[in-house]
Amino acid sequence: MPEPPQHSVTRGARMAGVVVKHASRDAVRRVREPFLSDERRAADRDAQVLRLADDLVTTLGTMKGAAMKLGQIISLLNLGLSTAATRDEFTRRLAPLFSQAPAVPDATMFAVIDAELGRNRRHIATIDPGPIAAASLGQVYRGTLTDGRVVAIKVQYPSARHAVRADLKNLALMTKLFERRYRHVDVGLSDVVAEVSDQIRIELDYRRELESHDHVWRAHLDHPVFAIPEPLAELCTDRVLVTEFVDGVALDHLGSAGQEERDRVGEAIYRFYCGTMYSTGAFCADPHPGNVKVLADGRVAFMDFGLYVRMTEAEVSVERGVLAAVMTDDAEEAYRLAKAAGFIVDTSAMSPETTMEYIRTVAGWYLTPGLTRITERLTHQCLSQAMLPGSDFGHAIFRQRMQPAHAFSRRTEMSVLGLLASLHAEGRWHDIAAEWILGRPASTDMGRRIADWQRRAGGSVSTT
């Protein structure tokens, strides 16, 4: 039985209390402005964003179609909440959106498979009853083809298309009608909703996912470390996606594995999800523990390319440029690039030094040389130090503009950090990142094996 909801004024006061505790506990404090006003402003804003969470649950919660997807994405967006505790509270309040709808009966889903595949349906010999996983907007079944291959069959809910489109249209309308209530929250709600809606609409069409999946599969044929399951294009439609079944150990079952193994898997995860961000700019934006498995031969398999992002050359070059400047201690250059790209709009609030400090705090785990163990605590520290209201940039960062295009790459890095934390992985992340950002030679065994493969495969991973 859920605990009875508390009065929102009480909640707000509680949050303010947490903020005060955080500020006094934290070591990194560069107080330039009156301590209290920053905190109060942050607490007010936090309370507003939390109220937004409640209202989102209200408007989205009863909409089956897009609710879960929207909830997932929104919970990961950096809405500028000032403390880890508030961010946790925000996620917690969105929790009702994540409750799974009861499974749609096999008969209904199999009917979709039949209708979609038509004549090609005959290539599927058997489908095991009962879905093996829920997918966004659908369910996944295990099946066997007539040629003996074992496959994963992702099927979209029959009403997903209509329900999701309807939900997104309602959301757009309601955002317009009620945006006034959140004007102080200052996140450009309409923009966020539009961006998120676009992504979800893309996810509705499995053919888009097939394209991305196929691209990634081809780019990693015979790869020594990354195993991508083969997509079966002839059995794919906009509502059905069939791929080679991956038999491996899930990430959450690696608990008993030794440190060396977890470090190895961690490095593979880091290289796979973040490696292409600074080269081709194309990357999988949904690093989720359910999408990673360790195979018997030691390779790491990656699945689910529903959220595949392609940044433009200009966007990649900005990210690489800024991080390279930070790695080489060039504050002026980092600042110049960030400003030119439109990240910094209020220069009085963000100086070159402040910008440098901020980036170093958020991305410290791979911008600082040395052996670093990723823990939950480190993850929280990264985020909370970056957004602390009592510090210089805590207040300043609220004034800057969130760039939708870069939101995904930053978010993906955060999610990868989360995955590494769950593995307590240790590594020289800086040296690996330097391979991509500064063009340095491979710094680990895995890196060298991958570099060898790249040379043999005829140059680096193909660009889109």
Binding site: P5, T62, P158, S159, A166, D167, N170
Partner: protein, 459 residues
């Protein structure tokens, strides 16, 4: 796609409008389209009609909108925005439900705002509810989504305001309570939809709703206020019957198998694609019979729709007739128990219908004017049956003298439907029949405060 013989340019639907085109012109076209749609209905409206009404060229309309369906989306948005503005939903805060008297006042406030809206815009409510719901599945989801959001907003409001009189310990109770309160617009809405604009009738309607909300329908026996004791429970949780949509056995008895199969095929198609987009050939294909066979059993697609509606209607009548007549009870307390039993059976029946009830209540009435009139008059007749029962109960001294029974009868019917609102709006939602029936009974017989105090045994 062909409109008035003119082949529309092949454009992808839903392409965002060009941002360089003047916003004023766009709004002008949407407003004109709204007026035409309300007047003629979606099927009979053409782009030419809209262009004429907006006083722009045919081609101009297509520069802003891909097709009629695209325009409809914008008209829907426009109509909802208008309704929200007229009801001033944005101005509503938790202070408004702070104390009981203030909450009661809201009935008058919103009641008159709704009537005002209907006076300026007679067709608006019908458009954004049943008419849109009948056009295609996506719009149906939009209507359902909007209603869900309204319902949830109601719940959230009471949650955050947490007024002393509405403190409920059980979230199932507060949820049902929210739906029931929302349902109180029902009788006023029906008045508006039947074209009854009489100010005296309107006031009487609001007075009766307020009276029920204040302390319910029961009369005081002597000088004591009636005490609602604990009501019998059946511990019934009705999960959505997914097979109900394919339940061949639910067709009228004595029917040959092929007719049942065609009926079932038609029903699943209406559910998947919406009534309009389904052809007889689709139905026969789904049932794997030849085209002509359909007409051996049904005169038209419309005949099947009428049968589906009749099926639910007849089922409802059967449930009501089969229950003991509450007015035959020995005293007021027994009357209360018997009425509660009846409400429980009806709610159970509605919950078990699943998507069929939703279709009959929300979609079928929007199919055409005739279907709409049938639905509304059917509902009015249902209300009057209840009113007749209440009248007899009043004769025995159990129902208060100072309420309009015609309105009260409809209020009872609305309450019952609202109790299962989430199941109507979300096919996967399971209804707790016990809790819903208890909140309903307490509300109708004892008012809002009584309903909020319902404390079902922890199951």
């Amino acid at each position: 796609m062909s409109v008035d013989g003119v082949v529309a340019p092949a454009r992808r639907r839903g392409r965002p409008p060009r941002s360089d085109l003047p916003e004023t012109r766009r709004k002008q076209i949407v407003r004109a389209a709204y007026a035409v749609l309300v007047d003629k209905g979606y099927d009979r409206t053409s782009i030419a009609d809209i262009a004429r009404a907006a006083q722009v060229g045919h081609g101009t309309v297509y520069r802003y909108f891909a097709d009629k369906r695209d325009l409809l989306d914008h008209v829907f948005d426009y109509a909802v925005a208008k309704t929200v503005a007229a009801l001033d939903l944005n101005g509503f805060t938790q202070e408004d439900v702070g104390d009981f008297e203030q909450s009661l006042e809201l009935i008058e406030v919103f009641g008159w705002r709704l009537f005002g809206l209907v006076d300026t815009d007679p067709g608006i409510l019908k458009l954004i509810t049943v008419e849109s719901s009948a056009i295609d599945p996506e719009l149906r989801y939009r209507v359902v989504g909007m209603l869900s959001a309204l319902d949830a907003a109601m719940g959230l409001l009471f949650d955050t305001a947490s007024p002393a009189w509405a403190q409920t310990a059980d979230p199932r109770v507060s949820a049902t309570f929210g739906h029931v309160m929302l349902a109180m617009v029902g009788p006023g809405l029906v008045m508006s939809l039947t074209g009854d604009l009489d100010a005296t009738h309107r006031q009487r309607c609001l007075d009766t709703i307020s009276a029920i909300a204040n302390r319910g329908l029961l009369s005081s026996v002597g000088s004591d206020r009636p005490v609602l004791g604990p009501l019998a429970t059946q511990h019934e949780l009705v999960a959505p019957s997914v097979s109900a949509s394919e339940d061949v056995a639910s067709t009228p008895t004595g029917v040959v198998r092929r007719r049942s199969e065609l009926y079932a095929a038609a029903w699943s198609l209406f559910l998947e694609r919406g009534y309009r987009d389904v052809d007889v050939s689709d139905i026969t294909a789904r049932a794997s019979v030849s085209q002509g066979t359909f007409y051996n059993y049904f005169t038209s697609k419309r005949a099947v729709l009428d049968l589906i509606v009749a099926e639910v209607h007849d089922g409802l009548i059967e449930v009501v007739s089969g229950a003991p007549d509450p007015v035959e009870a020995s005293d007021q307390a027994a009357f209360v128990a018997a009425l509660h039993g009846l409400l429980t059976r009806v709610i159970g029946f509605i919950a078990r219908q699943g998507p069929k009830m939703s279709f009959v209540a929300l979609t079928a009435p929007g199919v055409d004017q005739q279907a709409f009139t049938t639905a509304v008059s059917g509902f009015v007749r249902l209300g009057d049956r209840v009113a007749a029962m209440l009248h007899r109960a009043r004769g025995r001294g159990w129902i208060r003298e100072d309420v309009d029974l015609h309105v009260a009868g409809q209020a009872v019917a609305c309450c019952v439907v609202a109790a299962v609102l989430p199941a109507l709006l979300d096919e996967a939602h399971a209804v707790d029949v016990d809790v819903s029936a208890q909140v309903c009974s307490y509300y109708l017989l004892g008012g809002m405060r009584a309903a909020a105090q319902v404390a079902p045994p922890v199951s």
